[in-house]
Symmetry: C2
Subunit: 422 residues, 2 copies
């Protein structure tokens, strides 16, 4: 064992792909941290005619000029297209270059291949910025929560939808205006449907699942609902209960060997740590047997916060850090399941669309002119792989106590049927 | 570069010193994580007659049996006495054993010696549990906030005083009863004056300063005030303003090259992340140029949370992790100063004790029967090394905007002098 001194750290010569919100952030952050022993040698862009804020000298449209450059030892990938990004990643590793990316879709969709490429070429691929941008969650799940027995992770992991919901709840702005503002502030994905349909949150969920619990699950297997179908009635309902609605990604052990993961809008009470995570902030509540409950909050979108995470990956590369995927490799990971009982709120304009027969137990039901709803317990397998609940007349929101067994020992709520003004 | 697989990780054979709240926690946590490749071979205790909850076989009162045991490769130090702990630490390193400790007083008082011993013997000393127990802050400051330009760290770092203040503010329990409860729950230090006088917070502050900014400063140089002299009037004052009082440790750059650090009770508004850190929880707000604002919250006291941090240190030892003290070694750290302008609230039973002449600017003053106070700006050097403000008739609390320049550009508050019922 020998103390590593800063002098031993190698210089990083960077090839940067992409010069959008994230790429420019990386450029600026590196410019402003001159003490950091790294320099961007070349930047590969798609459109040579687009106006750039910096000198044009380092720019090229030829990917090969970066990949084949023997001096470049790290590729920072900051483009949108996951397939093109995978191609760049593969070729970079082949040419002996480490890779840093913040592309959650790339990582979530191709994780097994990325792990196997890392092994084949003995080079690291780091992606702290791919999950909750600036919040150091991947590396903490890998290293700090290595052995403590994790029970659950709940989080607001998409800055764009959180910004929109915050505007709606805190400032009374309507959905379309809030979405526009999110785009203008650079918080939304270039294709905002990835945000509002929950796809981006599902990609991040899959990374949390891998590094937290060792499962590699295609995001397509998760129950995923975005914020697009939340209605004015739902918002009013939340306000009446002094609650907010947030888009929450949840991972939870359902028993000793099984685990579930899903993305749902959820009603949150003021006492919930996630309640106060507003605007483009992300927040995570990590529960474990010994450390108990940890709450982490930080900016989950935007140029600098993502660049800060990339910078920390670059820093880690200087001492040859790599993810070990210990939990996944250990073969002791959990079986992924959608067989668990959820407490959800289903609302509709009219009572006949309400799927009463899907519920195991109806805890509360309301029928009224223009707004009817059911709160009750449903088996998650009724949602997974089914699309009845994606019906345009329905909106589905998780309750504060999302998992039915969370309040098993609370006394069973009285079923109340209120008929208003019929 | 080669992927480290779990198989390569070495087995840890542990010698444990101390079997109090923390020592027992470590024992239990290791018992319950059987997959973790570590075992406690021997436990050194002071009092052989004290009843132990586990089989007596591993217990001894002879420190040498642990230090001289060639099979033991890690010493976990969980005793109270910092001088005895230093002796154990030194001897353990001499004998080729790594050391894990959660003893903040040990580390804060002897850090330079501990760094030099690590270098001399080429062995790590890890102490994640010494600061905010379960919150992974030391390693994140070392690794994740390695290059981002930190601006400030503010935190609730003492679980015991936070528990007491929470009981007072949320449940209306009086100070002495709350302290008793804290002791009964194992949140208080064995000498609770370390908690209530702010000494424990100052020790943790010094660790945050070293790992966050590279300074090694003896806690004796900080302005430190605990919670003991907070009066019923102060609590009433906070309530009137819809604020809470919390004991906050603060580090802040005062200009490009200078930094200050202090521990003061502080009024907090509801919008402050630290406002909602209650009971034995600790919380930290880390501000930096790029990642912006991070908030971390977790249990800062208690048996399992501290043991969880020790477990994560043990886990890190398996891949030869050690602190590099990069910021300190870089010689680019900041000059520590107490020359900065603070906004404080000084209250007293009678107006004649109020030190009006110490203030640069009085923003608000109140004189009334049995409660007079001044809110204004004072140079911190008026507090550092002076004891006029420790006068039994006075209590000193930081304002929400503790640093005067935080609201430089807000319009200057009107000086209002209210004379009530005189």
């Amino acid at each position: 064992m020998e103390i590593i001194t800063p002098a031993k750290r190698k210089e990083l010569v960077i090839g940067l792909f992409g010069f959008g919100v994230v790429g420019q952030g990386v450029f600026e952050v590196l410019t402003k941290t001159s003490s950091f022993n790294a320099r961007i040698k070349k930047i590969c862009i798609k459109d040579p005619l687009k106006k750039r804020r910096f000198s044009e000298t380092e720019f090229t449209t030829d990917a090969n000029l970066l990949i084949e450059d023997k001096e470049i030892n790290v590729i920072v990938e900051a483009i949108d297209d996951p397939e093109a990004a995978l191609h760049i990643l593969r070729r970079s590793l082949e040419k002996g270059k480490s890779v840093v990316t913040a592309n959650k879709m790339l990582v979530a969709s191709h994780l097994e291949e990325i792990i196997s490429l890392q092994k084949e070429f003995g080079l690291p691929v780091l992606y702290e910025g791919a999950c909750c941008a600036s919040i150091p969650v991947i590396r903490n799940l890998e290293e700090y929560y290595d052995n403590d027995l994790l029970r659950s992770i709940r989080g607001i992991v998409n800055g764009s939808t959180n910004y929109i919901l915050s505007k709606i709840f805190n400032e009374g702005i309507d959905y379309n205006h809030a979405l526009l503002e999110a785009k203008q502030n650079g918080f939304a994905e270039s294709d905002p449907s990835l945000d509002v349909l929950g796809t981006d949150a599902a990609n991040k969920l899959s990374l949390l699942l891998t590094h937290g619990f060792g499962n590699i699950v295609d995001p397509g297997n998760f129950i995923v609902e975005g914020i697009k179908r939340i209605t004015a009635n739902d918002i009013k309902h939340a306000r009446t209960q002094r609650q907010k609605i947030k888009l929450v990604a949840t991972i939870r052990k359902t028993d000793e060997n099984k685990i579930t993961a899903l993305v749902l809008p959820q009603f949150l009470n003021e006492g919930d740590d996630l309640y106060s995570v507003d605007d483009e902030f992300n927040g995570l509540v990590i529960e474990s047997s010994f450390a108990d409950k940890h709450f982490l909050k930080g900016k989950g979108a935007g140029s600098y916060p993502t660049a800060a995470a990339i910078l920390s990956d670059l820093s880690a590369l200087r001492y040859d850090y790599k993810y070990e995927y210990k939990k996944w490799r250990s073969n002791e990971y959990y079986e992924f399941t959608n067989d668990c009982q959820l407490r959800i709120h289903v609302s509709s304009l009219s009572v006949e669309h309400l799927p009463s027969d899907r519920f195991i137990e109806i805890e509360e039901q309301h029928c009224g002119p223009g707004h009817s709803w059911i709160t009750g317990i449903i088996n998650a397998s009724q949602l997974a792989g089914h699309d009845w609940w994606k019906h345009e007349e329905l909106s589905v929101i998780g309750c504060c106590d999302l998992f039915a067994d969370d309040i098993k020992d609370k006394r069973i709520r009285r079923l109340s049927l209120r008929l208003a003004g019929v």
